[in-house]
Subunit: 310 residues, 2 copies
Amino acid sequence: MIKRLDQIEGLISGLKPGRIAVAAAHESYVLQSVAAVHAKGYGLPVLIGDKEKILALADEMALDISGMAIIKELDTLRCAEIAASLVGSDEADVLMKGQIQTSDLLKAVLERDRGLRTGRLMSHIGVYEIGHYDKLLFVTDGGINIAPDLRQKVEIIKNALKLTRLFGIDRPKVAALTAVETVNPAMPSTLDAAALSKMAQRGQIPDCEIDGPLAMDNAINRVAAEHKQIISEVAGDADILLAPDIEAGNILVKALIFLGQARSCGIITGAKAPLVVTSRAESSEAKYYSMLLALAMAGLPDEDGKGIRS
Amino acid sequence: MIKRLDQIEGLISGLKPGRIAVAAAHESYVLQSVAAVHAKGYGLPVLIGDKEKILALADEMALDISGMAIIKELDTLRCAEIAASLVGSDEADVLMKGQIQTSDLLKAVLERDRGLRTGRLMSHIGVYEIGHYDKLLFVTDGGINIAPDLRQKVEIIKNALKLTRLFGIDRPKVAALTAVETVNPAMPSTLDAAALSKMAQRGQIPDCEIDGPLAMDNAINRVAAEHKQIISEVAGDADILLAPDIEAGNILVKALIFLGQARSCGIITGAKAPLVVTSRAESSEAKYYSMLLALAMAGLPDEDGKGIRS
């Protein structure tokens, strides 16, 4: 079982290098991480953006970008549209955010005529390596869906399951997080959690165990779960944490990274191709592994058994 | 400035020992922590519960409880009522939860005729010592208020300010946490955060700096705040984190404790006396410092300048 982020490299060995469309690539941190992925032979970047600035930055940082295609475009929104269109027309396998607001990038992705929409919900999934947890922890969705309803939470879980499948986790354990471990009519998140548990039990959400409501301690700490006498396959041993909403999810993952010293990466799934939308504040390590994750996901067969990549 | 939990001992030095009413004290962990506080001369426990069991447990664990009053009561709910009445009639300064559900204890506290209600909102505040933050972090409210509205958030902040005042923090920095640092009409928590910031600026919430909306990373990490070009007294240097709701608050503090290895303690304020409601899963250290915190709070003058304690 994969327990460390650096083992993600193993997931893409054997795959031919995927094509990465980088929207608004004229940013030093982005160029740096893209160059690292390219140097390892994992990806073929297509840089879309201010060509002069890209060349100047590469020169300044002594980055070898000689093998990368560059599409000159000064308008940031247009960069996103070009990147999305490349993915839509199968000319790129992964879309990466550069010097552009995430919301602007997503707008370009969601435009109907660019061919990235799949009818599925898009959601963010983060992968965390934490010193005091004995396996990787997948957290969703602290990035895209503000207040998902039950139907959307099902989609968010299904998106996460694709990632855990990639990691070779058999029947991942999903904890539907709330503030408590009991169903409380005054807390709608506990009702959703109960419903999700039952849906998994009835086979409506296959290939995983789901339990909830669970508080954070019950979900990831066996002693805490035992104190509460919770009888559950999931409690104390969760692989996937489903946050009740974007605030809880976002605050959780940032606490893990900035106060818990977790190593992390993450992607957005649900579009035709995986999206890498790391922020400036994230480490170059996070950017690097997020790209590898996206490339590995792009190498998976899709729902119809066809490969996403040609 | 107090930066470590063990410095809380300094807050109660010089105070005469406070009286702690322990509701349903027949539980080994509770007895152990109460005995530690008593042995140090900080508190005078009144144990309410199954007297036979209390004596047997003390004997078994070799705890000296000879100086403590014991009120024999086999009914758990009745234990809570007695403890609350002791506080209501100024016969105890602090109320501590023993072997009883928090909701049952709070019910006894909120009964009008017991004299614990103050007209103020009750809220939970936790204090966290985290390896990778250079001061103590106060988080509220992950324990009591499910989905506080703006008015209730003001009360929650005011309750927290009493605690930071006790710690000698001059004009504490309050971060109103959400998932983003921008106002978004689709995310009500960002609107509340903006309103709270303005209320502080206008003097409607005095003696503190408030800024929000802030994402978790912007609130506690200066580099992350700079990346987002946030100009703020609070960003990157928060003392108090106001969670948008109970889920986000509860998940945050449990992640800090169980994955971030934070040392912690906490109390409920807003009633006539501080309440200690630590759970079984919490460490004995957390129980010990929570009691000291409650005793120190009980030693503060109240709103009218009168001491809570006689």
